[in-house]
Amino acid sequence: MIAATEPIRILPKSRADGGEGQFLEVSMGPQHPSTHGVFRMDVVLDGERIVKLKPVFGYLHRNHEKIAEHETYLGSMPYTDRLDYFCSLTNNWAYALAVEKLAGIQVPERAEYIRIITAELTRFQNHAALIGFLTQDMGASGTPLMYAFRERETILDLFESLTGARMMCNYMRFGGCRVDLPAGWLDHAKKFVATLPRFLDEFERLLASNEILMARTQGVGVLSKELAVNAGVTGPVLRASGVNYDVRKVDKYGIYDRFAFKIPMGEHGDTYDRYMVRLLEMRESLNILNQALKDIPEGPIVDPKTRIRGFKPKPGEAYGRIEAPKGELGFYLVSDGTSNPYRYRVRPPSLMNLTVLEQLCIGRNVADVVVILGSIDIVMGEVDR
């Protein structure tokens, strides 16, 4: 038996010259109010300054990929809900997309619309909650988070009346969606989406011009374009660094090419940009939502050829990816012709975005670390799988 968790010794106990005071080795997490789950950072502090930081994870390694190798293709769908548990619907979509690629399935138009509506609602609630958590990490005693969750609850109500569950929707199927929109859902959604700009205005008034927030975020955790690209950072974090890359635009998966929307871009790549890019993305999501809710056609919601049971794609492999709220979410599937995938791999955006955490945090304060981590937006279910 090996002695329990010794934090990894990263550095000698004190610096060579010895004059500046010793380093303090602290592990932040796995139980820490602002590590967004069971994340741990082994931090070496010089006073309050971060000298070294090593992210340690695996505390939520639930063997998603291994389990999926024993499940049918459909059986993995509910498990994808639990990857990024804020955004089950986009996870569903990414997985469905990968399987559709693997098996060559077409999706009916109405289902594509429903997918976009649910995905953009998911993006909205994810960003709102994230900004809430970010300000929570900055020490605002929960007020923005409460406002975000107020709206999130209403979005979850929409999800619930559509899919039957608040968080773990398990809604999408290969070639479409599980059930059609219930009666009155669209009107309800339209009405609700119409109220969301007001919420965004309130949110902005509450925080966006707050001097303390600006001081805490501007110039903190600056991520350069080059590093962001090289480290495979995606999503709002990448775009806040000024790289124009959005899978919705690049791959035009689904029917995203039918919608007019813009991609907000940051210039400084700091925490404030990451925060603002998300706020602006929420507005763009509303834009897409309005168009989709207006244009959604009638029709079937699932490709009639697809089977629920006994689904056995031909041998081969496929990599499907979408722009999830947190970044590029990809699924890599290898089929050996049986009803279970031979290899099932999730490319989680949170994990990739964490790659740069160490570089962003070195030399900053303890207080900055939690803010930077908050702005990267990780969910451990996805990081550890």
Partner: protein, 394 residues
């Protein structure tokens, strides 16, 4: 003043004398003192209980929810339940901790918090000890808080608590000087360190308007500076870094459980009341009514009304603002607060040596506003914090 009003105003004083009067003359003065001490302890402990539940309910309302409302009528027995729970909770002391110091820290904190009330006039003739150097006494006692916090953080031998303690001391010493300097303007005007005479200076009225020090340029600036420093001294949001939950978990009291932890809470709130009380005494006329036609309301009610208002503002701010960072906090103290308080002292001096009139107001205001603008520019250190515009890619 009508005698009925006067009676209402002095009812507690009279009651105290009446009760003490039953005793032999020899013990009367002692009884007087003991009665007032009991009153102070009970009233402020009660206020602490009420404030915790008000804070939780108020924060709830700010956040679109009810807050505690099930325990007792409208949830007002919540602190009682918390108290019972804390009393019966196991008291844990880490093995590696310095046991004696660990024990003494919360006790010292509560003592320091209570001592400050000795010089607070909560009403007409209602002060425990009218010390000659009352304000100085207040600040001297306040330094014990620093010591208590350090003892708590250090003795726990926890890394986070130590970080919290260091943060707390650095923050408290940085804001103590501005706190003292901000109150000096009032002392200059009042010519006394006695809290009672400072309040007495402010009880007059011009027309209906009171002679509160806050109604002068230097008083207004002093009040604001004092309140900022007081917020920092009592570790309230947005200056709650020593216990910054999201960063260093619970800060210096991380290893405290049971009633010792409750004592920290108590001490912190009592400290907040005390500094608020001092701000009221120094700038807001103490127990004096805000308008001359309202003087019929008993003086102690005015004091507590003002105190509750201050508490409400504290809660409001806590419900809105994020926390500052350590360097910003320190830079703010040394690069803005300290120079501003010094300039404020200077402005108060100028005010004194100038003849009355509009020109005095103008000069004083300019003397304060211009440096404030310049200093806040300097605070940013070349970094421009501002709302940005964003470009969009198609």
């Amino acid at each position: 003043m009508h005698s009925a009003i006067q009676q209402a105003d002095q009812i507690f004083v009279a009651l105290q004398h009446r009760v003490a009067g039953y005793l032999p003359v020899k013990f009367q003065s002692i009884a007087d003192v003991i009665l007032s001490v009991i009153a102070i302890v009970l009233v402020f402990a009660f206020l602490f209980a009420v404030t915790t539940v008000l804070e939780r309910k108020g924060l709830g309302r700010i956040q679109n929810r009810y807050g505690p409302n099930r325990v007792g009528p409208a949830g007002f027995f919540q602190p009682l339940a918390d108290g019972v729970k804390s009393l019966t909770k196991e008291d844990l002391v880490p093995r590696a901790a310095d046991q004696a110091v660990h024990f003494m820290a919360p006790v010292l904190l509560v003592i320091a918090a209570f001592l400050a009330y000795a010089v607070l006039p909560v009403g007409r003739n209602m002060v425990l000890a009218d010390l000659n150097a009352g304000v100085l006494f207040f600040f001297a006692v306040g330094t014990l808080v620093e010591l208590a916090v350090f003892m708590a953080g250090w003795s726990s031998r926890n890394k986070y608590s130590l970080l919290g303690a260091m943060r707390a001391i650095a923050q408290m010493i940085s804001y103590e000087v501005p706190l003292v300097l901000a109150s000096i303007v009032v002392i200059m005007a009042a010519g006394s360190l006695s809290t009672v005479s400072i309040v007495n200076m402010q009880t007059g009225y011009s027309g209906i308007w009171p002679h509160w020090f806050v109604l002068t340029p230097w008083g207004f600036a002093g009040f604001n500076l004092f309140m900022i420093a007081a917020t920092a001294e009592s570790n309230r949001s947005p200056f709650d870094l020593p216990e910054g939950e999201s960063e260093i978990i619970a800060g210096y009291y991380i290893e405290y459980s049971g009633f010792k932890f409750a004592l920290f809470f108590l001490g912190e709130y009592l400290g907040m009341f005390a500094t608020s009380g001092l701000a009221i005494t120094l700038f807001l006329g103490g127990w004096a009514a805000p308008f001359s036609f309202l003087t019929w309301i008993p003086s102690y009610l005015w004091f507590f009304a003002k105190l509750l208002l201050m508490i409400a503002i504290f809660i409001w701010i806590r419900g809105t603002l994020p926390r500052l960072r350590m360097d910003q906090l320190m830079n703010f103290a040394w690069q803005f607060m300290l120079p501003m308080t010094l300039i404020n002292v200077f402005a108060a001096g100028v005010w004194h040596f100038m003849p009355g009139g509009v020109i005095r107001w103008l000069v004083c205001a300019v003397l304060l506003i211009v440096p404030a603008v310049l200093l806040s520019r300097g605070l940013k250190q070349g970094k421009k914090f501002e709302a940005r515009t964003y470009r969009f890619a198609e």
